[in-house]
Amino acid sequence: MAASKTTTPAAAPRALVLGGNRIPFARAGGKYAHASNQDMLTAALDGLVARYGLQGERIGEVAAGAVLKHSRDFNLTRETVLGSALSAETPAYDLQQACATGLETVVSLSNKIRLGQIESAVAGGVDTTSDAPIAVSDRLRRALLDLSRARSVGQKIAAASKIRPKDLAPATPRTSEPRTGLSMGEHQALTTAQWGITREAQDEIAFASHQNLAAAWAAGFFDDLVTPYRGQSQDGNLRADTSLEKLAGLRPTFGLGLDTPATMTAGNSTPLTDGASTVLLGNDAWATAHGLTPLAVVVDAEAAAVDFVHGVDGLLMAGAFAVPRLLARNGLTLADFDYVEIHEAFASTVLTTLAAWESETFGRERLGLDGAFGTVDRARLNVHGSSLAAGHPFAATGGRIVATISKELHRRRTAEGRPVRALVSICAAGGLGLTAILEAA
């Protein structure tokens, strides 16, 4: 009689954050002006490999992405792996969920680890606005494709004759939402006005971001999280010497056409940034075998989306819906979190999210709760600074946040010997939001 195989699964493995590495973020047109997405992602990945001794290692899977991606980079992550010090037998895939790309690579790879499909992974993201892809116009593209399909001379002439001089003008990536024609800043200006967020409150968020990030750099917190690149050794957007007075002196740039006073400036909005980040993930067995210290557990995640097209909710408000669902599923409240990381797309994105959670009406009518969802203790918010100070290379922001807060969770747990949790919320184009719970391992 043949031995019967068992399909009963063992206890699900934990998905652990074991480390992270990024390159300093640079302002667009700065030190990475001529570096490609693949260049920067390779630099961040090779820094991770060097930091954790992974040369020649076959990692379970590497997932990364870029928001602004040239079509020739169809296999960006695999090409990056092939050019890195990892084993050439490491599989990889590209992923894209606008500004949530980086966090989604962490979430989906963690799920594979929890399912036992892989034991180790590298999550990542990269973006360049300096080396952005430029496409040909739709009319030229179509004419060229028709031309390539044409067989006879007559067909070729007919296809070529459709090309007009103005079709030759390049098409640069659009910064506006395809369905509304409004830029992200203009959308957020509507949300800012809807929630009555003041200029002062926004400038305070921006000021705190620069103060906190500068303090973290000064304390050497990023020394084992960042590899210098192309002469950039700190985040290029950081203004350690900025002040509330300087921020107050900036002219508003978004919401100029609204009835309410415009409050959003270059100081309380993220600048265009170039950079890349990576996060090392694995299960307990893989971590032990490689002598690595688990920093944090990826506990759970929740994505949400809003109908901003018809003005139901603000473009960047999906996190306000995802977090209550995520916390309810895990039996947690905002008070259970020692750290809250809300991506600073704009200072007012953070503030409108907090305002929604503090609103009785929003809690009842939009979240289906008995009242307000809750209040975030500001002392726990973006404690190492966030995108306003560090900059925001779209797909790289998730990896920056996860690596930074995982290190902090481990430090805090080691110091206090109790469970320590962090909540991460990242808003994205298309009305998307992705949120996750991390807990010190």
Binding site: L182, Q194, G257, V309, H310, G311
Partner: protein, 296 residues
């Protein structure tokens, strides 16, 4: 809408091309001016309905329309695309020598479409058009052009386009003073490039010179080219999106032409019955168009 029994149906072999229709319209406008001077201008509407049977849809034409208007590239014909297929028949009626108003210079005031069910690529369409309800307007004379589209005897789409002929007023005003416009909270904006009129002309066949270039528009009294009203109405319909369902009423009133290039600030939002849309000039706080899309 039912076909008035007094009308004689004339079956045409094909939906006429609009280029030729406009040429005939211009010619009949000249005749109309002459006959009016001698006091023999037609007083009523032509007692005829035009009909074309067996209209096929070209998939490339559908794709081009969907891409330009931002409709999903499905095999369902957008309601505005059905208008594009059917309306030239109504335009041909307006170009008849016995039509009492001159085709060139007609202003599209409003449009009401009832889409009874989804019409799909591959269905063969029968189109019928007639004019009705010639009546006074505060600045001229208005008339309804009714277009019906059927598939195998089933009425699937009805459109009523109301046009104004300025200056030929044969009665007093039918409307009170205009309400003051209050701009709502925007949900988006359309940045319309200078070639939007030419691009919609390419998919709609409506090459009325007022849409094509500043020069040709100036010749007809506009400072620059203006967007087709149905282009803006169809953009609003596309903005409503899938929530409109497969059967709906789609109505629009055009308040002011959109000069090209130009920016239309828009609000497209749900209310108790369906969706309301407004497009306006944010600088001057003046409306371009208002309308509704209500699922049936």
């Amino acid at each position: 809408m039912t076909l008035p029994t007094t009308l004689r149906t004339v079956t045409l072999p094909d939906v006429p091309g609009l280029g030729g229709v406009y040429a005939r319209g211009a010619a009949s406008a000249g005749r109309l001016a002459v006959t009016r001077r001698v006091g023999r201008a037609p007083a009523g509407l032509p007692e005829v309905a035009y009909e074309v049977r067996g209209v096929d849809v070209d998939p490339t034409h559908l794709t081009d329309y969907q891409h330009l208007l931002g409709e999903p590239g499905s095999d369902v014909l957008p309601a505005g695309f059905v208008h594009v297929l059917a309306f030239p028949l109504a335009t041909a009626l307006m170009a008849r020598t016995d039509f009492p108003l001159s085709l060139l210079g007609m202003v599209h005031l409003s449009n009401v479409v009832t889409q009874r069910r989804a019409v799909r690529l591959g269905e063969v369409l029968d189109v019928r058009a007639w004019a009705q309800d010639l009546r006074p307007h505060r600045s001229g004379t208005q008339v309804d052009l009714v277009t019906e589209v059927s598939v195998a005897g089933e009425l699937v789409w009805t459109g009523t386009s109301t046009y104004l002929s300025k200056g030929d007023s044969n009665g007093e005003s039918d409307a009170g003073p205009r309400e003051e416009f209050v701009a709502p909270v925007p949900t988006g904006q359309w940045r319309l490039a200078g070639d939007v009129g030419r691009r919609y002309a390419a998919v709609s066949g409506d090459r009325n010179p007022i849409h094509l270039s500043a020069l040709s528009a100036k010749a007809l009294g506009f400072p620059r080219a203006i967007a087709h009203g149905m282009y803006t109405a169809a953009r609003a319909l596309a903005d409503v999106g899938a929530a409109r369902g497969e059967a709906f009423d789609w109505s629009v009133e055009f308040a002011k032409p959109v000069l090209l290039p130009g920016t239309v600030t828009v609000r497209v939002a749900a209310d108790d019955e369906g969706f309301a849309f407004t497009g306006w000039d944010a600088k001057r706080t003046r409306p371009y168009l208002t309308g509704r899309v209500d699922p049936l």
